[in-house]
Amino acid sequence: MTSTSACPAPSTAGAPAGGRTGKRKEYRIVRKGDVKLPKKKFYRQRAHANPFSDHNLEYPHSPDQMDWSTHFPAFFPPRNESETTAEHSSTQLQKQVEIADIGCGFGGLIVSLGPKLPDTLMLGMEIRQQVTEYVEERIIALRRQYEEGESENGHNYQNISVIRGNAMKFLPNMFHKGQLRKMFFCFPDPHFKARKHKARIISPGLASEYAYIVKPGGIIYTITDVEDLHNWMARHLEDHPLFDRMTPEELEGDVCVETMMGDTEEGKKVTRNNGNKFVACFRRREDPEWSD
């Protein structure tokens, strides 16, 4: 296999998930909240997390209990002491996350897309804890840079955030039915072996779940450098009655396609290695008629 989109293999391959070496821990404590961008090497982690495991994840019981004020403080008033999460969330209906980057890795997509769609809230979701922490630190640093007048592009990065989570299990806990306008699957883990295909992030069952989260007219973007995986994702979304494959004409000039090709960490790596990039995008249809 010459080119795969497996994420960077960590230097501490044998270390248990969540294990931290003294050096990394120290680095992270020292740099917490630093205006400088964090260094990736201190946040690497075993390349694969088992999506079937019971990760000790924190997730809301339902989207109503999601406290978005910690993610997007500029858009949501912080919750005050006496409020319950549910009460609080009912006061914050004015804005919703509308873009999700599933398996966002080191966050390249949302960091690049944030300034291009400044009025849209977007969330990266990543299952690996240390990688999520890196993205968190990265976003905090970008926000600080803006506040201290050191921003390069004049964007405040208040519209992007990241959350640790298992997208194959808990998306319905975070998003309401039809909440998302766009959903990205950029260079997902390929899971080459046939018997592993159920671990792939696109499957007939999961496609129905994504259709539930994405509003009719919304778009699912996929990109990979692994042709087999591309065929796989394309086929299962094409076969799904709630998705239509989009034509190149429909996608022409779509800023999202350019961004996922050029600005994701994996996309850049594939470019450096002169690899292929396969793109397939799908529009969510209306639910079919269902009458008594």
Binding site: M1, T4, A6, A9, A13, P16, A17, G18, R46, A47, H48, A49, N50, F52, S53, D54, H55, N56, H61, S62, P63, Q129, N166, M168, K169, F170, P172, N173, K177, D189, H191, F192, K193, A194, R195, K196, H197, K198, A199, S203, P204, G205, L206, A207, S208, E209, A211, Y212, D228, N231, W232, R235, H236, H240, P241, L242, D287, P288, W290, D292
Partner: protein, 519 residues
Amino acid sequence: MIHPIQRIHAHDSSDRIYTATSNTLHVFRASTGELLSTWTAPLVPNPNVPNSQPVAASTPAPEPTSTDQAQSPAPPGSPAPPAAGSKKRKLADQQGENKKLRSSKWTNTQGGCNNAIAKIQTTEDGRWLVVATMEDKAIRVFKVSVGEEEGGLLECLSTRALPKRVGDFAILNTDTILAGDKHGDVFALPLQERSSSIPKPAPTPHALIPADVREAAAAEKRKRTEIDYALPFTHRFVLGHVSMLLRILPIAIGKKTWIVTGDRDEHIRVTRWPQSFVIESFLLGHEGFVSSLLCPSWRTEKDWLVSAGGDDYIIVWKWREGKIGQKLPLKEAVDAAYPALTAPETEDAPETGDEGKQNDKIVVNGLWEVPGGIMVGIEHAPILLFFTTTPENPDTLTLTSTINLPGNILDVAVFGSEPRMLVSVDAAESKELVTAWKFDSGAKEWVSVEDDISKKVNGEVTKVEVPDDMHDIVKSNVLYTVATLRKTFREGEDTRNRDPRGKEAEEEQQQEGEDAMKE
């Protein structure tokens, strides 16, 4: 320990009670208690016991064999089956061998290979019986002879082994089985399919002429995107959870049908049928797994869904609106009826009086519908909680009474118009397998009765002695399977490095990780 009855099922119009003791099914006539038929699921070789193979080889599981047929205990006046003599001997042999195998297994600490019956369900008309067994992961369909042709015989029509253990199944419209496996996939299988394995047509190799090459490449590409569910029989993928699937409940209202599914990750999902690619809603409110779902038919609009499992409460949903109607706490009732369950383990262990925190000893092992109410079973406790609506409050459930049982609750079958209830219990001392209850409509209470059916069941069910060192295995694998679904984390632990689907899946996943790093 005598093996208790882990599953009990009633079908009214055909007047039947079905019981499962380990891997043996008994069929009784509900009104008289007459034992009509028995059937024993073939044992499965224990992979951990190398010398358990020879015996099992003669009854290769899960393929049905001629001995995989129900046996009638002297059906009066029924025509003798052809070659009855040889069949009988074979049966006797098998039983002898079963015993041998069982003992070799049950003396092995890995145990649990007795292929216990996990679920019994009949079609609405009572003519078909569907049974799921644990170790061979099979779903079997039996034709039930009732009425005229009744000979007490059950005829096993098909045995379909799923690649993964059956988490739950349901029967839709008397012609479709919805089977959910432990990995979260739900498949629709035709109820009537005689052959147990329709082999997939092997692609006939033929010499390629150049014009075919492109087509062949396209076919190859297509094949590589195909998911191989390894189901060698007619099936249709219906839906998938990335979680252990614990309960499937179809609800039909007018011309519409929904499939409600519950999983180990606290989700209840409502899916359209047959357009199962459309998820109507998620009902989110549980903090623990969802292993019991019930849509009481006495709500004529079928607007309620009751759910329970790993929480110390049950939820009554107005499911069409996606709203919680009631959240009914159980702790007080459990404490009042059976304080031993929630008592702290040691004297000086502090009362975990964390307000708002759940009591982790309380787990619901089942919900059953009775006219105007529901029964809630608490695992590891000898009680049933009886909730009803009242004329004053027709739209809320309240705890009406608690039924004390002679042993821990295992399963409940409700039948008859009176109505009656047959409750199977784990009562080592009293040696009672089931107790019978009748609803006294005057006193509005369930009263214990000793009727023909309970007497016969207690008397006629084949007693299986479980060796001492096997008690724990039978308990955790067959009798008390619900509480083990809990997720447990140690303080500060990031990932519970155990794949809940089992060791095999865990190792696969491990391997995958390592492969990916090498690539």
